[in-house]
Symmetry: C2
Subunit: 324 residues, 2 copies
């Protein structure tokens, strides 16, 4: 099986590549080659059990997507996107990368003619407030950002290309990834991870919203699990509705902090400083709080068991098991 | 006020042009010019109260949409599309006309920079079975045709361009138009109109489905009314959700025939011949039967009062008041 990861330099793409490189098989079949593609060079995973090809390029450039089909990948993960904030600031760039790039990829897959599985990472940004306390699978998509609009359009295209038999696609809507490793960033959603990651590393972190704020989370490990499950799923059981809201863990910020206290102690939890920021409070008020993703659960997608587990996964996978 | 109708040669586009040409004003403001654009030459309406410009061209050709902005239209009706059956048979043509054409139009409007009102005709094809008996406003879009996918994508783009302030858009999802004037056609939905229009004109018509089949209808006159209401609406009251399911009349085929009998007599209704067609039965089984379009009703959109009225409108507007 030839596997291609588009967006292989990103946080989830790199973790997915490491997992595939280490496993050597997927769904009982040997992985014969792994190709990683991104706009910056992806890191080749260490000790891979198969040849790994690393490629760079700009997906929306005409001809580029066609080159990615040269090895006729049997399975394509499409994770490449510019993020919500950037797509909102640069309208043309957002549509170019997030919509045109995907559409050119779909056309290249159609032209190759071998009907590979395509797993596309969509987002809960396809939903826009107001919405019910727990969003069900049949709730409509009313994105309130260009990023969310682009993701919704890609979902629709992938469902239509699948229906026409050009590919076998699944769009999976990831929860907010928590605990996101790396540096604190200025994304409005950054604090959900910052208030866990920084204290666990011995640093102070700022909480800009009330402890009542509720949100929807998945660990990076769970996200990789969703991607692999989508890759192996018997799509004959899925039908024409190919966009699936992934399961997650719905917790308030207060519950996040209580979990941190339980897993790592008061000494760590005390590193969180409350500094309410009305702007961030307002932005976050428009975000989904909870979902009832019945279809994904029926199809066997597995969320983290609890927010405590999300913290433990971060400690295991990012901190070598040690809390500062 | 400069008004542009894209798709001015179509059945609804021509009726809309006639109405605007006759009225001379819209929302209390004089119409200073009316431009009609289509791929084939639109007929200039008779006795127009303003200068009428007739243009032909291929909307998705680069540069074409920009030309349409030369007069800086204050109000643009975008009705141009290739129909469902053709979009399904010719995948590339469907995406080129129905998606790329619209996107180039949106970009040309954005480049012109004067934020006109845009009224786009979408379709109940944005919904795909299974659905509830009456589809509510927050039900999700799962189109089962490329046409429905293209319409859904255009709705999303128009909402996003509106949110960004590039235009002031509304997408209105028309019911099936009944009684559609003209010749019988082979569209799977053709019989809903055929079994009314042909008997009223003294001709036989074939009913290929059971009388239990329920569907969602609006007269051409109601459809023009929706377009004009959308053109005049105070969009400050609409918010960011710019795609609206229009109200309609939900009736079974049996109720259609009973209405025909009541309006035109048994002599006319007896011209309908039952010839069940399992293929058409199956196609129609996947179509919406009824809607609960609360938002459009709140915003003042008005459906026909009854199916009998739909028949009377056809007799008045197409048959000069006379039944054969």
């Amino acid at each position: 099986m030839n596997i291609l990861i588009i967006g292989g330099a990103g946080m989830i793409g790199a973790k997915l590549a490491q997992r595939l490189a280490r496993d050597g098989t997927l769904n009982g079949k040997p992985i014969s080659s792994l190709s990683l593609y991104d706009v910056v060079p992806p890191a080749a995973p260490a000790a891979a059990k198969m040849p790994v090809k690393v490629m760079t390029g700009d997906l929306p450039t005409p001809g580029e997507a066609g080159k990615l089909m040269a090895d006729r990948p049997d399975l394509i993960f499409h994770l490449a996107a510019i993020v919500s904030g950037e797509a909102e600031l640069d309208f043309d760039k957002g549509y170019r990368i997030n919509l045109d790039g995907t559409r050119l990829l779909l056309e290249a897959i159609r032209a190759a003619g071998h009907t590979p599985r395509l797993v596309f990472t969509s987002s809960i940004a396809v939903f826009g407030a107001p919405f019910p306390e727990a969003i069900e699978d049949e709730f409509f998509n009313t994105p309130l950002t260009s990023y969310g609009t682009q993701k919704t359009i890609c979902e629709l295209l992938i469902s239509d290309y699948t229906r026409k038999g050009f590919l076998d696609g699944l769009s999976i809507r990831l929860p907010t990834i928590c605990v996101r490793p790396g540096k604190p960033n200025k994304a409005a959603s950054g604090f959900f991870s910052n208030i866990m990651r920084e204290p666990l590393a011995g640093e102070a972190a700022v909480l800009p919203v009330s402890e009542e704020v509720r949100h929807w989370h998945a660990s990076p490990r769970a996200a990789v699990g969703f991607l692999l499950h989508a890759a192996c799923l018997d799509t004959n059981t899925v039908g024409p509705r190919r966009a699936l809201t992934m399961p997650g863990v719905s917790v308030t910020v207060g519950e996040q902090i209580a979990s941190l206290r339980k897993v790592a102690g008061e000494r760590v939890a005390a590193r969180i400083r409350r500094e309410p920021d009305p702007f961030i409070e307002r932005v976050v008020a428009g975000w989904p709080r909870n979902f009832a993703p019945a279809r994904a659960l029926e199809l066997g997608f597995k969320a983290d068991a609890s927010f405590e587990d999300i913290i433990r996964i971060h400690i295991e996978d990012e901190l070598g098991g040690r809390v500062a």
